[in-house]
Amino acid sequence: MNVLEFDILLPAFIAGLLVLATHIPFGIRVLQRGVIFADLAVAQIAGLGVVIAGLLDLTDKPLLVQLIAASSALCGAALLAWIERNAAEVKEAYIGLTFVLAASLGILLMSRDAHADEHLKDLLVGQILWVNNTQLIGTAVLSAVLLFVWRRLQNSQNHFVFYALFALAITASVQLVGIYLVFASLIVPALATYKLQQYRVAFAFGIGIAGYACGLLLSVWIDLPAGVAIVWAMALIGLLSALLKRTD
């Protein structure tokens, strides 16, 4: 690997580490609660906030856009907490419906004007190679705060606390790396280490980090789009480690 390639991969890899830092503990909890699609729903609602900010002509005020995205994600979190409290048996159905409604509303709002396709595609595949230092620093600060609050309130029974922290983490990570990678970072490490009694978090981090590293290297070596290459690398590593564990 030459200097140029390293220079391109390093910020993307750091973005991956930042995403993993919050998503692995959250992912384990999400799996436990059986609300796997909550991240998609929250991400869509946050995206909806960005679309509305765009329609209000606020795109040149990035801080305000982030504020709107975060507040819409928090509204989404409140909705999810309400669903969990009041309709626990059918919560997956409600969460799925929330996702579809938020996504369709976004398309409806954008159908008149604006960069509809481009935005939607960016949100899905993401833009991990385009991250800049400002975004990395912002996400690092946010992740540190979220993890600190999470440690303090980990055992709280309040549904809203969990969903609120989760929603803020997702809002930042989706804009950094896209929904596919957010979903993979949440679910793959948590799922692959599902049966582990000891060192689960450490193994989960190992799988996540290896996934980002291998995906980025594959993107250089065999000329593949980075985001989706990481998704597959992480899934294959997760599968392999789950199989190895079983043969123990």
């Binding site: 391109i8 991969l9 190679l129 993107s219 000329d223």
Partner: protein, 298 residues
Amino acid sequence: MKKIVYAISLLLLSSQAHAALNVLACEPEWAALTQELAGDKVSLYTATGALQDPHRIEARPSLIAKARRANLVVCTGAELEVAWLPVVLRESGNNRILPGGDGYFEAAHFVTMLEVPARLDRGDGDVHAQGNPHIQTDPRNFLPVATALSQRLAQLDPGNAVHYQQRLAAFNQKWRAAISDWEQQAAPLKGVAVMVQHKGFPYLSNWLGLNEIVALEPKPGMEPSAAHLAQVLNALQHRPVRMVLRAAYQNSRPSEWIAERAHIAAVELPYTVGGSERAKDLYGLFDDTMARLLAGLK
């Protein structure tokens, strides 16, 4: 009864006398050109906005309804609208505007196309068999298109033929003067090395003598690989460029990324009428394009 018939026929006649041609323009630049050439003799509707990718829009019912009533469809052609226009035309059930008919006008027929591929491979991304369709970035292309479009308008609306002829003559004169103005302004841009976010500017580069070194996203609509980005940075080390160009409808993040790394200017061009505040008409489009390119040199 007679009176009513008389009144209705009068109404029909009078509406005929004012009858504007219904024109459906695929892109804002052709709507603007039709406006220049026809004035109040046409009623215009534009299918795509300046902030939309004209390759991909959804065929909405309202668009089909407009196509149903259209006397003339004015598009770029060269497969730019291939993803949606054939569906709209078919669903409209309007025989006047089918390809090959008098009511179907393709601007790309009348200009010299660039980047016509010798070999066609869809694996290369959005490749067009008839060449790059983004012809509106060279103002000289509007001259032959205007002549052909004016003839077509006169053919469809012979009663106003003189009007169209006069407006064409006026447009040609004013446009040629504007082109020579822009060319004078653009003198410092000749031979300047630039890079593009995607290959959408061959006509602009050809006109102004810009030297396009490399494209950031070789396959439009596809996230690039890290390997390609390394090649781009490598190319820039050997051949530094002054700026990176992108169209207003495109995501700004890729060009901002490269601008930050390579310490070059990221220049967003309006690309078509309506793509920026100043690009209100065809003249504003190129006034603003020039101003932004020259600002990118600083």
